[in-house]
Symmetry: C2
Subunit: 167 residues, 2 copies
């Protein structure tokens, strides 16, 4: 299993030229609205939901409307640039599909999403599908869990106790 290093995981679109070209190639205009929405989603590493996306978008172009956000997201999904995720019990969120990994582990305490890749599981999936008489066209693997070492581990909790030494 490989965890995806967060630092180098998204191929941070060199400017937006890639997306722009990509859009154009697909009949999109690549207007400001589209570029801003695309850049924000593609550059986000944390699976923001719609509210959070709008907040981030607003810091760049406050005039982009809700409808435009939804419409652009739909376009980008159609192009296969981004994906919409609906993890258990939380609002839909969006993330780049460019560096698509097979699996997501959702930290039920913090909401954090960790991507991972297991070729082993991927192999088994294909095997299962074919045993059942199917050709695999898609898959979704979500793990839900809580951190093993104490909840959350805030910085303030890390301080060593007064007299006894924490092991």
């Amino acid at each position: 299993m490989r965890q995806i290093s967060r630092s180098r995981c998204r191929e941070n679109l060199k400017s937006l030229r890639d997306v722009d070209a990509w859009c154009k190639a697909h009949g999109l205009r690549g207007t400001e609205g589209q570029r801003v929405v695309a850049k924000i989603v593609l550059d986000s590493r944390d699976y923001p939901d719609l509210d959070e996306l709008r907040r981030r978008i607003a810091t760049v172009s406050p005039r982009i409307s809700l409808a435009t956000v939804y419409r652009t997201l739909r376009l980008l999904i159609g192009l296969g640039l981004i994906e919409r995720h609906t993890f258990q019990e939380r609002p839909a969120c969006y993330a780049s599909a460019l560096d698509k990994r097979q699996g997501h582990l959702i930290d039920t305490a913090s909401g954090r999403v960790i991507e991972f890749q297991s070729d082993e599981i991927e192999r088994l999936e294909g095997e299962i599908a074919s045993l059942l008489g199917y050709r695999l066209t898609g898959h979704k693997l979500e793990l839900y869990g809580e951190p093993i070492r104490a909840p959350a581990l805030h910085r303030s909790q890390v301080r060593a106790p007064r007299s006894s030494r924490s092991r």
Copy 2:
């Protein structure tokens, strides 16, 4: 990998006494509405969506209202008796959680859902979670695929060809 035999997969509640008792034990009344909704969902093997559920419920007790269906489903989910699934691109559907299997293969052609169990994958999931520092509390595995041999394979298509023998 084990496919779940559809014929013996649900332990078809011997009458509704089980559920009834179970409900009572959890502070539910076990009124007609609750019993009917519970029985219908628990006995269904095909992941019916809300409309379909209401249709089936109506054949038994036509007066059960939409609100009651939703409320009862929520109660049953809370008790861990049933599960709500939201497979890609389709309306939410409900199924028993009593014979919970880890995996679902969704036939994108027919909409059919096939349950399976892979201890191998389950083991890997636990391994991955713990490598990432998490204790697994839940998981979801969905495979999407299309049938390999022609669509659907209806009974009428199974007939042997006129002159050559089908292997």
